[in-house]
């Protein structure tokens, strides 16, 4: 399925804005994404499988924080970064 990548993480995807990754849950999808683009997961998910405070993962239009959220091939995943800081 398609995964939209925010600017700060595109150094991992060779600047691609949209990449492919697979999984039946958000956790599985992020694991697959990390296999394809090593290191990307830890920048947005901490040691305890918590999405970092200023990161968001959308399944279609819904923001999810539970990595066990099921997803299907028809879903579109968008990873976003909160706008904050100076």
């Amino acid at each position: 399925m398609k995964v939209r990548i925010p600017d700060p993480l595109r150094s991992y995807t060779q600047l691609q804005k949209v990449v492919e990754a697979d999984g039946e849950t958000v956790a599985a999808l992020l694991a697959d994404l990390d296999t394809r683009y090593p290191g990307i997961r830890f920048r947005m998910v901490d040691e305890h499988d918590r999405i970092r405070k200023h990161m968001k993962v959308f399944v279609n239009d819904e923001s999810v924080r539970d990595l066990n959220t099921p997803i299907t091939v028809r879903d579109e995943i968008t990873i976003m970064q909160a706008l904050s800081g100076g």
């Binding site: 090593p38 920048r43 040691e47 918590r50 904050s84």
Partner: protein, 382 residues
Amino acid sequence: MSTADGVDAGPVLPVGTRKGAWMLSGDATRASWVVCGPMFLGNIAQHMVLDPRDRTTMLLATRTGHLGPTVYRSTDLGRSWTEASRPPAFPAGDPFERTLNAVFWLTPGHVSEPGSWYAGGSPQGLFRSDDGGDTWAPVSGWNDHKLWETWAEWPDEGTPDGSMLHSVIVDPREPAHLYIGLSGGGVFESVDGGADWQPLNAGSVATFLPDPEPEFGHDPHCVRLHPLRPDRLYQQNHCGIYKMERSEGRWSRIGDNMPTEVGDIGFPIELHPRDPDTAWVFPMDGTDVWPRTSPDGRPAVYVTRDAGASWTRGEAGLPERAWFTVKRQAMTVDTCDSVGVYFGTTSGEVWASTDEGGSWARIAEHLPEIYSVECADPVHRA
């Protein structure tokens, strides 16, 4: 200093800032400097250190305001970087559910253990790599110590930018003999490679605590050991400048010999590479709400040549009035004769002295807020 092909060259200063990393390269006279960068523009470059053992491997501890922390490695003086395949992190299932917010400090390991590095974190975790910074593992003897929660004041954040572990020191005589500094928490020592730890704070004060002389809970800002006299430690503490002779077992407040109107508060302390009696500090205003700027806005470096018995002010060339801060990792020295002293400011300037702190020249300006300045002598220059 000379390169692999024998060319005379000056020091290289890796500079970490709030918005990326830069590299300053001096010529052999240290009068002319080339500023290269930015690298990792927009990323917080907390600490960038060249391995003095191979003079080739450079590590950079970095993060952004949003993304998690990581470590990058370069073997070509920053022209290309590779991310650690396993960056420092607390283990899944950690009983305190600690999340590493920042890799704050990097220290190369003992000369007998090539490729070994230590990293200090925020919160106050300790991590070790044995493959030149590619993969990192928690130092369980510290992170899981039965008193860690108490010593680290978990989950309180004792300092405005979060509690951190810094000043990882490896005894040059014995790789298993380690020191660390915690802000807050104090100085701690291990004699068994990090398997167990003991506080080392006797004689230093913590005026912000009900008991001003507790066993731990202090706020050392920067701790240094002199490699030629490794039984002597110096520290710039939240509550003064101290020296400890291990034979005495207590810190003595050598900052009491600073001018009263200047005081002995600051962040960094740096040692002369060949003279254990010589140290430099950059005093700051620790009164009232702690402005953390130079006392009365008059920047100056102070040097002692007699292990803290007396201090001399060095300000020639520095601005008459300025309101910057020099953070704990933002002061360093080279190994030239005479020793070059350098510091970076929160206002984005790098200052250099080639006469051991007597007079100063600005060698970079208009950089972002500077977090760290180290001195490197790489085998190959750019």
